[in-house]
Symmetry: C2
């Protein structure tokens, strides 16, 4: 039951190489001495590790550094803008998107196209995605980058540690392994690289963890987003809480009106029936189906609600206030169970925050003695796509030996 | 942001010593070859580590082993029944208890006394606890054991990583550091040893994790227990989920009737108002205060309810069924958020399981497509006390260099 531990010199070296890369990633350009001070190794040991990482093309030297230490000025080390990069992709109900992020965390290429993926045949969707990944890879290969892996966000449940969509209701996909449906020559699937599949809410929360400017570990928050349903994910001690099957974070099916409306999940009075996109549209007087036809595309209905709310539409304002209250009830349960530092509204919910927050915070304050602050994410709707690409980059930083120069 | 990693030979040796001890602890008597196979090190490396652990008095040789491998029979290695032991203690509302557990996990001494700790002055309570710890330590020191640390369970919130009770409503203690209130010569507080304080529900869940016969990692469950309120704790991937402040697991304050009864916590319709001991007594027609006076002592009111239920008392049966339903509503939220493998009823709730389970499982089944099984703990009310003592033992197994022979 002991935590996995290194047992050999080889594993110790692998870990220390990863610590050097993470130190440079977190701390910007650093001298060898500054790296040594950050990770608690001797300068001699660090120099050996750095030489290996320079040789592998993962680190570069920027010239005289700004280490601030007395003595011979160090050369500043930075992550390379060439070499391995992460490819992130997103399969949305209304769109496909792909991006490439380099080791420094910079987005180097990005493409997004509208798509009609609702209740779709998955084969052409995955073929089209493969084609978009090839386009992005060609662009970045011209700049000296090579895809180290491909991570894909889907709006559905993914079995933990697999590439199988257990259930994606809006796509109409059930029990489907996506790996065999990608073209065999899709960049990032090459030997030595990896294909990762994850729920969009999970990847959105990881993006928030890595890019949202949060405090150092132990960090913990509940990240609530939305596309069609309510998406949520939980970060505990700086890591995603996945659950035994990979299904954790289903805030949308926490009962908020225990004897209320039946839910498509088979439950009763679930949050989604009071704060999901369809519920809010209906409460504001729209026919959700007609509205979806008139306003297709990612975020279009959310934009509609935001524009109406900005214009003072009373039915929309009332519907959003009710949704905020329902979110507050469900989050009261989550806060009691998880004791997060903050609650973060991300994705589409961030756009609606001005009208959700008053009633949401009011409900938390009515039920909790010391409610956590509710923050609004600055990442916007790109969270899941960025989280996907960054998860590949972090896999490289965590295990640099597997990604040495080709 | 990388996980803490070993950086030196010294740390690698520390980790490998811990892996050897955990292998022997998990696998019963093992030959050197069997240890090597379990942890993936060479037999030569394992022999060096084992020699050090034998020299430190943490391991002993039992004579020819049962490794089942071909070739020269190995000598079986076992954990010592002498040397470091863990002292666990529990401060209950109605009692104090202390026990000593050796490296093998055997309880070597145990004492429990009735006490009137409700709304108490903490100083005499801690002095009396110190005295009980000294008694237990004297007993086990005669058998060649020495206290390696003291862990204390309290019915209240403990600030993460501290020895401060933030709030223990039934004891009447608020913002209180217990460390200075223990006698300075209390065994387990000596230099090199440690004093740990934790919530009783957390320690009960850890006991269930370590002693409850669960499957290997990644294990995840929600452990629900009860003394006066509803205690719960969450295990994720084989570790306790503590929350940023240390307050996670407050299932008792998840809203189950959002516009229902006001709760002492300031919330509305919390689970505790429908399934806590006082709520169940009241629903069954008892006056909780009078009943507490007539039936003092740990578990006395739970025993009363169980005896009445066994006798077919319809008011008690109805009250327990209602409590089971309320537990099921709150647990529906917890299951959606956490995706545990199981729900475990422990502590006093285990005693009442026969009458809670039908409505609890009915409620989970009504709200969840694939509800997790609900298990009943075999540990009984000793969970928190055993969890406390075992947490000290595990600290020794995790860092054997700090606990070499005195």
């Amino acid at each position: 039951m002991a935590a996995p531990a290194p047992t050999t010199q080889q594993e110790m070296r692998r870990r220390n190489l990863a610590r050097v890369l993470h130190a440079v990633s977190d701390g910007g350009p650093l001298s060898r001495a500054a790296v040594a001070a950050r990770i608690g190794l001797t300068r001699t040991s660090v120099s050996t590790l750095v030489d290996e990482l320079l040789g592998a093309g993962l680190l570069v030297e920027l010239g005289p550094g700004r280490s601030g230490t007395v003595g011979r000025p160090g050369t500043a080390l930075a992550l390379s803008d060439r070499g391995p990069c992460g490819i992130g992709a997103e399969i949305g109900v209304d769109h496909l998107a792909v991006c490439a992020v380099d080791l420094r965390g910079e987005v180097r290429a990005r493409i997004a196209v509208d798509a009609a993926n609702r209740d779709s045949d998955p084969r052409p969707v995955l073929r089209r995605l493969s084609s978009l990944v090839r386009e992005i890879a060609e662009v970045v290969e011209g700049a000296g980058l090579r895809p180290a892996g491909l991570a894909v966000a889907v709006p559905g449940l993914v079995a933990r540690g697999t590439t199988t969509v257990v259930q994606a209701p809006n796509l109409g996909w059930t029990g489907l392994d996506l790996a065999p449906l990608l073209d065999a020559d899709t960049p990032g699937l090459a030997p030595g690289a990896g294909f990762f599949l994850d729920n969009e809410a999970n990847l959105g929360a990881l993006a928030e963890l890595w890019l949202g400017g949060h405090s150092p570990e132990p960090e913990g928050f509940v990240h609530v987003s939305a596309e069609i349903g309510i998406g949520a994910a939980i970060v505990v001690d700086g890591a995603l809480l996945r659950g035994t099957r990979g299904f954790a974070g289903e805030l949308g099916h926490v009962p908020v009106r225990p004897e209320g409306r039946p839910c498509a999940c088979g439950g009763i009075g679930c949050l989604e029936q009071y704060a999901g996109e369809e519920a809010v549209l209906r409460a504001a007087g729209f026919d959700p189906r007609v509205t979806a036809e008139r306003h297709p595309g990612p975020g279009a209905r959310i934009d509609l609600l935001a524009v109406r709310a900005e214009g003072g539409d009373r039915a929309v304002l009332r519907a959003l206030a009710e949704a905020g209250t329902a979110l507050g009830t469900a989050l009261t349960g989550a806060v009691n169970l998880l004791d997060p530092r903050t609650v973060v509204l991300g994705g589409a919910l961030a756009r609606l925050a001005p009208w959700l927050l008053p009633s949401l915070e009011g409900e938390l304050g009515r039920r909790l003695a010391g409610p956590p602050p509710v923050a609004v994410s600055r990442l916007g709707p790109d969270g899941p796509l960025l989280g996907a690409a960054h998860s590949v980059v972090r896999a490289v930083l965590d295990d640099p030996l597997a990604h040495r120069g080709a």
